[in-house]
Amino acid sequence: MASPHSHEWRAVCDKFNTAQNLSEVESRKDPENDPFRSKYKARELLREIYCTLKNFDVGENESVNDEADQRPTEQPVDGGMEEGFGRGHCGDSPAGSRAAKLGAVEYYLGVNHVETEELSAGEEHLMNCMTLLEKCCISPENVSLFIQVRNQLGILWAGRDEIEKAQGFLETAEAMYIRYMKEDGQPPMDLTEFFVAEEEALPQQERTKRFEMAYTHTLYYLAQVYKNLEQYEKAGGYCHSTLQRQLKFNQFIPLEWAINAATLSQYYITKTLYMEGRHCLSAASVIADLAGEVPSEASAQESEAEAEKRDQLRQKRAEIARCWIKYCLNLLQDAKKLLEDNIGELDMDRQAELRATRLQEEEEKERGRKSAVLFGSSDTFDSICGLEEKVSCVFPVDFEEARCIFLVGQTYVNQAKEYFEMDGHVTDHIEILQDHSALFKALAFFEEDLERRCKMHKRRVDMMEPICKDLNAQYYLLVCRQLQFELAETYYEMMDLKLAVANKQNDLDAHTVKKFNHLCSSSTKFYQMFLDSVRSPEGKWPEKLEDEVLRPALVAKFRVARLHSRLISSSKTVQLENLNRALECYNFVVQYCKDNPEAKSAVETELELSEEMVSLLPLKINRIQANLASCN
């Protein structure tokens, strides 16, 4: 081997430096009609380096030369986890060092070819690198090369739609990292250091940083591979680890990281993993703050850069707030599902049960948590934990606990609305309002006092009704329909509650009756608005309802029927009128399902009740009619 100080070796190092510079820096300035000019130049230099290296004296009379020239009978392919781990030459033996250097050049040639869209040639070089490495065992000198060549092969094969093959390389890279860190663990050499004079070796800290970065990339590619293989749980885990490592090694852009973590929280929420979701969100909030202060409105007016920064920061923070809202909302809704009995009321027995198992669960979770990957560097860890403590991650069992979660959610609602104002962000603003309404709805479930529960629903009406009136249905049809339906349901719920309260009293006073009828007709009004939106522009009812409105439209008809039959009136004529209308609507549901049998499954319960009413109501109507006739 040429001595590290020889003139020849210096020339190789210089060439390598030039090639690196061409490939990384110069290539960005290449003209569009000759996009790979610098890359091709770099390639030439790498080839020269390769030839020079091959001709270097091996020294110590080892027969590596022949060995390295032999074509392997079969190409090494990763897949079996621990298979193909280095054996043979020691990493720092001259032969091993020579093989590693040649491997590194092959690696750079491979990457170069891949970047210039010559995939097969790139693959060949990368595989040559693998073959050369086969003869070495893993050492601090070459472990980074072991991992990075596999990263590149993973990318290459995934690009050819052979995901399993990519997975094999990447998983081997992962296993190698783990083993190396267990067995050796000292900061390994970087790939570029093969070609620098000894005195220019990188400091230990930089070596660690680069090595860890290469491994972070392995995990990042694995996250993508598992996503493509539809192994979502695994993909989620790898996303989490990637984020965690970015934080640990301080390799991240705060806002981007925070948004990724906030999005990951939404994944955990859908899996009902609230502890993990909360952890992601707390970390997202803390890291987003690292992105700096929001520039004031005044400074935003002065400079465009400040204006953009202000918008970015405000928007991303509002987005994170919205993820928090969903966290609180889902936690409340899931708790409600656990606690409700078959008519949707709080089940006391289950409440007691849940309380009892709570203690036990908490302990288990605490244990589980120790094994889970946590976010945070030493600087941020405390702030993240501090934020976590502000909201529970276990299901609330009573009103007090539910209220605490609700209040946190409401705070984030207000925060999110500051950026997503109605003027300019209509859709987002309304989505936030809908969440706020849903938070109230979930909280109302835990409230035992019916009057107070009713007031909570009134709050929902107050926030949605004015918008529903103003919103242009030509552009926001879907949102309009959602609001109409929700308002109708809210009034319906209030009407039910009023009835329940009234039933406890002995006699109905005129005021209560008036209020009750008002709620009934308000609910009817919004169901009717929704139903009208299904009509054609000429006002015709469609023969066949579209899938997405089938159930809501039939349910709306059914509810309208019930509402009509519930209206209270002392006048027989009015009673008769209302009942006839109700019958008409029940008939509609029955007739529609008769004409379109495929609709039956969508509204089973409603259909059954409607059929019953269609047979019963005429009797009642006849009785009133007879009564009226006899009175006259």
Partner: protein
């Protein structure tokens, strides 16, 4: 011509798709000269067969037009109905989609030189203008008055530029409770005739070209959206009825440029090529959340500017036609397949048109 009738008569609300096959030409770079192999056959007025291996595949659309179709019949099938609806208060959108060189601009505008307002070869856009103003003039006789304004914007690299004001910086999308999504600060020009509208269009189109040289970008990499806002006022029985509607004419970027959005497949995003910021991790997580089980959740990544602007036309409340342009050359097999698949997916998007009637009780 039975099939054609189905396309014309039915008032089905789903997005309609029109596939147009352009003729083979020499020297476009898309056909190897001499290789006249075709990768598809039009088998009926609404089916197309792609000669894929091992089995040929047949695709069905609302209409399939072979190479010999005239510009006029493209207009009649695609745009006539939509323009009529616009007069009656609906929003309408016509998209042109396809690979660069597949004939999008020819279909929409016509031959590239611009003083051919009377040319037989003129495309869907000039014909739509003529028809729109023909209808306006007819309706105006019945105590109905119209106001028509145009805007023309370009979306390039997720930035919005105003083609009617080349000096302006990039613009923002905003939403308003009354008028939906709009581009804030975009210039709106009032027009009173087809010729004026066409003038606005060609002025903007020229700006698009200018931009393409000064900023070194290809026009096929940007989406151009020409919007006509129509306001009609009718006084009947002491009540003033005001209706507004929009007609969007969209020339999409060449489909081969849209790799990053949906058609990318399983390719991994490399850390080195995205400047060490792991942008795409977000995409992975988004996919995880996407497949969730109907729970309420919030995803922080926004739609692209184009889908946001045209949200209303894609599954909202408008009448929409997509013209998918394909090149029949066998070299273009891959792109053609992906265009046909896109067009088929688009069929699944449901649409519902509804009149917006603002009834003001002003008594005159």
């Amino acid at each position: 011509m039975q099939h054609q009738q189905i396309t014309h008569s039915g008032d089905s609300d789903s997005i309609k798709v029109f596939v147009r096959v352009r003729p083979l030409t020499q020297g476009t770079g898309l056909t190897t000269d001499g290789d006249q192999g075709l990768c598809l056959t039009v088998t009926s007025p609404n089916t197309i067969r792609l000669h894929s291996k091992p089995e040929p595949r047949t695709f069905t659309y609302d209409h399939v037009a072979d190479m010999d179709i005239t510009q006029d019949s493209v207009f009649s099938s695609v745009a006539k109905n939509i323009v009529e609806s616009c007069i009656n208060g609906y929003n309408g959108t016509i998209f042109a989609y396809g690979q660069t060189g597949s004939g999008k601009t020819f279909t929409m505008l016509g031959p590239s030189d611009f003083d051919n307002f009377t040319d037989d070869q003129r495309g869907v856009i000039p014909r739509s203008f003529e028809y729109l103003f023909f209808l306006i003039n007819r309706e105006s006789e019945n105590a109905k008055s119209f106001l028509c304004k145009c805007s023309f914007i370009e979306i390039y690299n997720e930035q919005i530029y105003d083609l009617l004001d080349s000096a302006s910086a990039s613009l923002f999308l905003r939403e308003n409770i009354k008028k939906g999504v709009f581009v804030e600060g975009a210039v709106e020009k009032f027009v009173t005739s087809a010729a004026e509208a066409y003038q606005v269009l060609s002025m903007g189109w020229r700006n698009r070209r200018v931009a393409s040289t000064s900023m070194n970008r290809e026009s096929s990499r940007s989406h151009a959206v020409f919007t006509m806002t129509l306001e009609s006022k009718e006084t009947a029985k002491e009540v003033v009825n005001i209706r507004t509607s929009q007609l969007n004419l969209v020339d999409l970027a060449g489909s081969e440029r849209q790799r990053d959005t949906h058609t990318e497949g399983s390719r991994l995003k490399e850390a080195s090529s995205i400047n060490r910021s792991l942008m795409c991790l977000g995409q992975v997580i988004m996919a995880l959340v996407d497949v969730s089980n109907g729970k309420s959740r919030h995803i922080c990544y926004r739609d692209s500017k184009l889908t946001f602007l045209l949200r209303d036309s894609l599954g909202g409340n408008a009448k929409t036609y997509i013209i998918a342009n394909v090149h029949p050359g066998s070299k273009c097999f891959g792109e053609t397949l992906s265009t046909l698949q896109f067009a088929q997916r688009a069929k699944l998007i449901k649409n519902k048109a509804m009149i917006n009637e603002d009834t003001q009780g002003n008594v005159r």
